[in-house]
Symmetry: C2
Subunit: 321 residues, 2 copies
Amino acid sequence: MELVTRLLAGDRRSLARIISLIEDDGRDAHKALAELYPHTGRAHIVGITGAPGTGKSTLVNALAKGYRRRDLTVGIVAVDPSSPFSGGALLGDRIRMRDLAGDAGVFIRSMATRGTLGGLARATADVVLALDAAGFDRVIVETVGVGQAEVEIAGAAHSVVVVAAPGMGDEVQAIKAGVMEIGDVFAVNKSDREGADHAVMAIKMMQGLTPAAPPAGSADAGWEPPVIKTVATRGDGVDELLEAIEAHAAYLHESHLIQRRERDRVTAVLETILQVELLARLRLRVPPERMQALVEQVLDRELDPYTAVDQLLQLGEAPCS
Amino acid sequence: MELVTRLLAGDRRSLARIISLIEDDGRDAHKALAELYPHTGRAHIVGITGAPGTGKSTLVNALAKGYRRRDLTVGIVAVDPSSPFSGGALLGDRIRMRDLAGDAGVFIRSMATRGTLGGLARATADVVLALDAAGFDRVIVETVGVGQAEVEIAGAAHSVVVVAAPGMGDEVQAIKAGVMEIGDVFAVNKSDREGADHAVMAIKMMQGLTPAAPPAGSADAGWEPPVIKTVATRGDGVDELLEAIEAHAAYLHESHLIQRRERDRVTAVLETILQVELLARLRLRVPPERMQALVEQVLDRELDPYTAVDQLLQLGEAPCS
């Protein structure tokens, strides 16, 4: 594909067009990704997640500038699930782009994919592949860290940064939803506000409470996740945060744990694609009027949902020739 | 099933045991649900969603008490995705139960299901069915309204309440993630705090900005979603909120829109079950070592993820006899 060749040669416009193909999710996207794939595996992928209002986006911008000062290129994927205004993601891009404008070493893309759950995870993983193939040294995936889907998307990165902020009511509540185990580095942003030390302590206390034997792919016993205070708007603590991320990357490579992370990542990506593909294939095989008839039977309580699904699956079996 | 007969007769312990079966997700759960299903369809299902720190849970408790004063029974499903402490959901239950203790007309269950995304949505839908069959007049589904999965789960209800709170930084950011379109009623909780009127105005402004033609299943042109100020801890505005929910329920029935909501609900439930079942069946058909071998090929960049999934799907085709 001409577009892939140009992307690999460093053309940013081709990268943007391939990302659009991915969002449209046609056959062309799969073809492009198959061609890009052998050129991936070089970027270190950083997931950044936190509740709304923690200043994640400002922190990501500050980190990007820090990487640029170190002559590393950065691709950013901001996952903003189903913003009600179709222009929302685009507007956000523009505001953020202004800040980092004119620098070809930074590329930002917001994902506001609607549609199915698996769809967002799959599209994000595909955009990460495209940025990786395009040669960015670091790829940052930024998500709202409250929902299960969003936590999983960020958690699929090599190094995961969990962002909290003081004065958001109950910090513990804000960071509890499954994110404690996935954090390799914790940032308490807006730490010029009252309660920053309390937030740091709350995180350290929760770290002490998390199970001693972490599940596969989570922070390992050999790495103690640091808690770093930042004020992203002023750049305070951003260098320290960046160093912590880089230290974690080095740790993963030295301990060879990077292989395990990669294996977990690839398995998760394959399952996401599988789930979406399986449903798409079934839809092609089951006539819409049959599907509709089953919905009506369930509505009339003639059939329970599980029996209806069994019937659908039988209808969807591949025909034997 | 003995357990189902006892649940239908009003036995709360049998209800709790069936919910445990659902969470374990065995064949027994499917059997129980098939038997329960003809007895469902009576409850009005209320989804309540909002960012962490808005005081959702306190508001849900206050609403439950309001319903009890009107002699209506209430089942509550609190969706708390993957809390890091396995005891977390249970502890939450206990604290909340104390508040409503000794009242057989209220039943609270927290769902802290880990595992796949579809798994949480499916288990929640199944628990709603069990509560419906057990005869509760209102079933409240409470979720953290920031994640895509959580918004979808709450959005599958008949009437959806979106909860915001003043002084949480950017209210607009806190409520933007796909929840504006699904709100039938908006509550600004903690409205004794500064900024309550600002939050109400922000919501009304966003309502004005949402597209004129709402998508199927969303608030209809004939219903203007009210914005109600509450202080859940004092009970202020709770009656008004309850009346608004009931008015929306009446509106759905009078306009016959309830049928459309039910159809959307059932379609979403079927798709969720389908997605989980499809993956489970594929897993049974593909030998784990074949799956592992494909993961290794993708890791070694010999195969791209889409080609690997194609091969998996071929392996997973039903054998022809």
